[in-house]
C-alpha cells in the first residue's frame, strides 16, 4: 500500500476522532447536532476512502448511507423535534467539560496502546484504523455517561455506532451483510428513540432523564 493512501486514511480517521472531542465541549443542543453531522460526514469520507483503497465498491453504499442518513436526515429530524417540543436547549452535564476532556484523552491513550500492542500481527492499516475506531467508540460511551439530556445521550450513542462502522469498514473484505444491517439497525434504533422521545414528552414535559428517576418503581 502506498504511503499516500495510508496517510489519507489516517487523516480521515483522525479527523473523526477530533470531531468526537469537539462533541464533548458543546454546550448547546443545536451546536451538538451540527457537530454530529460533521462527524457523520467524516465517517462517510473515510469509508469512501476505504472503498477506494480496498477496491471494494460495496463500501460506497455504506458511505452513502452514512452521508444521507446520518449527516442530513437524522440531525435534521432531531432539530425539528427539539423545536417542536420546545426542549431546553442547553446540554446538561454530569461531569464538567474539562474533566470529561481529560477522561477522553485517557481513553484514547488506553485504546491506542491496547490495539497496537495486541494486533501487532495484522496489517498496519487495519490495526491503526481499529485503534481509532475503539477510541471513537469509547468517547461515545463517555458522552452517554456524562450527559443527562436524552437527546445528547442519543447523539452519543450514534457517534458510538459511527465508530463501529469505521471499524467494520477497516476490516479487509468484511461482508456487506453486516454493514447494511448496522445502518439498518441504526434506523430502527432511531425510530425507537423517536417514539420514546415523544412519549417521554407526553408524560414529563421534559426530556431530562433525571426527571424520570423520580418515578422509579422502588423507592429505598
Amino acid at each position: 500500500m502506498s504511503t499516500l493512501s495510508f496517510d489519507i486514511a489516517h487523516l480521515l480517521a483522525g479527523g473523526m476522532l477530533l470531531v468526537s472531542f469537539m462533541m464533548i465541549y458543546q454546550t448547546r443542543l443545536y451546536a451538538l447536532l451540527n457537530v454530529f453531522a460533521l462527524h457523520a460526514v467524516m465517517l462517510a469520507l473515510s469509508v469512501a476512502w476505504q472503498a477506494v483503497v480496498q477496491d471494494a465498491p460495496h463500501l460506497y453504499v455504506t458511505a452513502a448511507i452514512a452521508l444521507f442518513f446520518k449527516a442530513i436526515l437524522i440531525p435534521g429530524a432531531l432539530h425539528r423535534i427539539i423545536q417542536r417540543m420546545g426542549i431546553h436547549r442547553q446540554v446538561e452535564q454530569v461531569v464538567g467539560t474539562g474533566a470529561t476532556m481529560l477522561l477522553g484523552m485517557g481513553l484514547v491513550a488506553l485504546s491506542t496502546v491496547l490495539m497496537l500492542k495486541l494486533t501487532s500481527g495484522s496489517d498496519a492499516l487495519a490495526r491503526e484504523d481499529l485503534a481509532f475506531a475503539l477510541s471513537i467508540v469509547l468517547l461515545g460511551f463517555l458522552m452517554m455517561i456524562t450527559r443527562r439530556n436524552a437527546v445528547s445521550q442519543v447523539v452519543g450513542f450514534m457517534s458510538l455506532e459511527n465508530g463501529l462502522i469505521l471499524a467494520a469498514a477497516g476490516a479487509q473484505g468484511m461482508p456487506l451483510v453486516v454493514e447494511i444491517s448496522v445502518a439498518f439497525s441504526v434506523l430502527v434504533a432511531f425510530i425507537v428513540i423517536g417514539v420514546f422521545l415523544f412519549r417521554i414528552r407526553e408524560r414529563f414535559d421534559s426530556v431530562d432523564v433525571t426527571v424520570m428517576d423520580d418515578f422509579r418503581g422502588e423507592k429505598r
Binding site: 439497525s185 434504533a189 425507537v192 429505598r220
Partner: protein, 482 residues
C-alpha cells in the same frame, strides 16, 4: 423427504408470517388464537428437528446438538407463554390497561421477538447472529414500554440504552473475530461462518481472539444479565406485561448465553488463548452472591423474581465456566430447569398481580387461603427455584456443587454460600405471600393453569427421573462444549 421447507425454514418462517398477519388483523379472540397457533406450529417444527434428523450446515444455518436443546426449549416456552398471554391479555383489555391498537402491536412484536430469538439460535453466521440479537432486543424494548406509564417508560429507556451499549460492545467483538479469522480463511463471508471458524480456530492470532472474547462476554453478558451489567433487568421485568417477563427470564437470557457459549467454543479450540473459564467463573459467582443479597430488600414481587433470574444466570455461567463434562451437563440441565420453573413462576405471579391489583410484596398475603390453586402453585414454584428436592433444579445444583468440590473446593464454598443466601431470602418472602391473613381481593378468578402445571410437571419429572436418551443427548452437548 420431498418437502419444500425444512424444519429450520419453518421455525423462522412461521413467526415472520404470523408477525405480519398479527400486525394487520383486528380483534382479541382471533389474534390471541393466532398467536397461540403460530407458537404451537413453531414448536412442532422445532420438535420435528429431533425426529426427521438434522439438515447439513449451510452458510446461513447450522443445527447441531447444542442449539437443538435451545431451539426446542425456546419454542416450547414461547408456546406456553403465548397460552398464558391469551388469558393475561384478556384481563388487561377488560381493565383498559391495553387498548386494541396496542394489543395488535403487542402480538406482532411477540412473534418478531420469537423470530429474532430463533434466528440467533439457528444461524451459522456470527454477523447474522448479532443482527438477530439486536432485533430481539429492540422488540422487547418496545414491549417493556407498552403500558406507557412513567415507570414503564423509564424501564424501557434504561433497557434500551444499556442493551445498545452491550450490543455495540458485542459488534466490536464480532469485528475482531472476523479480523482474527481473515488472514487464515481469506476475505469475505466465509470468515464469518461458524463452522468454518471452529476447525481452524487454532491458527488464529490468539491476542486478537482474547480481546474479541472480552468484548463479546461484556456485550452479550449485558444481555445475559451478569452482575455489573445487570441494571436493566429488574426494571424491564417489573414494568412490562408479565408474559414478557416470563419470556425475558426464560428465553432471552438463554439466547444471549448461547452466543457466549458459541464464542467460548471458539476460544477453547485455540490452545494459546486465555482460558475463558476463570472470567466466566468470576462473573458467575459475583452475579450469584450479589443477586442473593439483593433478594432480601425487594418490595416488588416481579423485581424479586428478576433478581432470582440474575442469580440463576450466575449459577449457569459459573457451571459453564468450570467446564468439563459433568459441570457442562449440570449447567445445561440447570438452564433448562430454570427456564421452565421461572416462567411458571411468572405465569402465577402475573395472575396474582392482576387479582391483587398490585405488585407490592406487602399487599400480597395469604394466597393459599384466598386462591388455593394459584397460591400453592407459587409455593411449589418457589420451592423448586430455591433448589429443594425432588425438583430438577436441586438435581442440577447438586451436580454443579459435587463437580466443583472435587476440583476447586474453595469456589464450591462460595457457591454454596450464595445458594443458601438466596434460599433464605426466597423462603422468607414466600411465607409472606402464601400464608397468614389474606389481603385484598378475595374473589375467585379464571386463571390459565395448564401451562403452569405442564412446566412444573416437567421440572418434577426431571428431578425424579431423566430418560436415558436425554441424558445421552445432554452428555454429547457437554462434550461438544469442552
Amino acid at each position: 423427504m420431498s418437502f419444500p421447507f425444512g424444519p429450520v425454514e419453518l421455525i423462522l418462517g412461521i413467526p415472520a408470517v404470523a408477525a405480519v398477519l398479527l400486525a394487520v388483523l383486528p380483534g382479541y379472540r382471533l389474534t390471541s388464537w393466532l398467536n397461540v397457533g403460530a407458537s404451537l406450529a413453531s414448536f412442532l417444527a422445532a420438535a420435528a428437528l429431533l425426529v426427521v434428523g438434522r439438515p447439513a450446515p449451510s452458510a446461513f444455518f447450522l443445527i447441531d446438538e447444542l442449539n437443538i436443546v435451545f431451539v426446542v426449549l425456546n419454542t416450547f416456552v414461547g408456546f406456553t407463554a403465548a397460552c398464558f398471554s391469551a388469558a393475561y391479555i384478556a384481563h388487561e383489555l377488560e381493565t383498559g390497561r391495553l387498548t386494541p391498537v396496542y394489543l395488535r402491536f403487542y402480538h406482532a412484536m411477540y412473534q418478531v421477538m420469537m423470530f429474532g430469538m430463533n434466528l440467533v439460535l439457528v444461524t451459522n453466521n456470527i454477523g447474522l447472529m448479532w443482527v438477530a440479537i439486536e432485533l430481539a432486543t429492540l422488540s422487547t424494548v418496545l414491549m417493556v414500554g407498552i403500558y406507557r406509564t412513567p415507570e414503564a417508560l423509564e424501564a424501557a429507556w434504561k433497557y434500551f440504552i444499556l442493551g445498545s451499549v452491550g450490543i455495540a460492545l458485542a459488534l466490536f467483538g464480532t469485528i475482531l473475530v472476523y479480523l482474527a479469522a481473515q488472514p487464515v480463511l481469506g476475505e469475505g463471508a466465509a470468515a464469518m461462518v461458524f463452522t468454518n471458524l471452529l476447525p481452524r480456530a487454532a491458527e488464529f492470532d490468539p491476542m486478537i481472539l482474547n480481546l474479541a472474547f472480552v468484548f463479546l462476554i461484556l456485550g452479550y453478558g449485558t444481555k445475559v444479565g451478569l452482575a455489573p451489567l445487570h441494571a436493566w433487568l429488574p426494571d424491564a421485568h417489573a414494568e412490562g406485561p408479565t408474559p414478557i417477563s416470563a419470556v425475558l427470564s426464560g428465553l432471552l437470557l438463554n439466547v444471549a448465553l448461547y452466543a457466549v457459549l458459541r464464542f467460548k467454543m471458539l476460544m477453547t479450540a485455540n490452545p494459546e488463548t486465555l482460558a475463558p473459564g476463570p472470567l466466566m467463573i468470576t462473573m458467575g459467582l459475583v452475579s450469584l452472591i450479589f443477586a442473593a443479597l439483593m433478594l432480601y430488600r425487594r418490595r416488588d414481587i416481579k423485581r424479586l423474581f428478576a433478581y432470582s433470574s440474575i442469580e440463576h444466570m450466575g449459577i449457569i455461567v459459573f457451571a459453564f465456566g468450570m467446564g468439563g463434562p459433568l459441570a457442562n451437563f449440570a449447567g445445561l440441565l440447570h438452564m433448562v430447569m430454570h427456564s421452565l420453573t421461572k416462567s411458571a413462576i411468572f405465569f402465577s405471579v402475573g395472575h396474582i398481580a392482576q387479582i391483587k391489583g398490585s405488585q407490592k410484596t406487602a399487599e400480597i398475603r395469604g394466597l393459599t387461603h384466598s386462591h388455593p390453586a394459584l397460591g400453592w402453585a407459587l409455593v411449589v414454584g418457589v420451592l423448586a427455584i430455591a433448589g429443594m428436592p425432588p425438583f430438577g433444579v436441586f438435581m442440577s445444583e447438586f451436580l454443579i456443587i459435587s463437580s466443583t468440590f472435587s476440583r476447586a473446593p474453595f469456589l464450591a464454598l462460595i457457591f454454596v454460600a450464595g445458594l443458601l443466601l438466596a434460599f433464605g431470602a426466597l423462603l422468607m418472602r414466600l411465607t409472606g405471600f402464601a400464608f397468614g391473613e389474606p389481603t385484598g381481593n378475595l374473589q375467585p378468578v379464571k386463571a390459565s393453569m395448564a401451562p403452569l402445571y405442564i412446566h412444573m410437571g416437567l421440572v418434577l419429572l426431571a428431578g425424579i427421573y431423566l430418560p436415558g436418551p436425554m441424558v445421552a443427548w445432554f452428555q454429547a452437548v457437554a462434550r461438544l462444549l469442552g
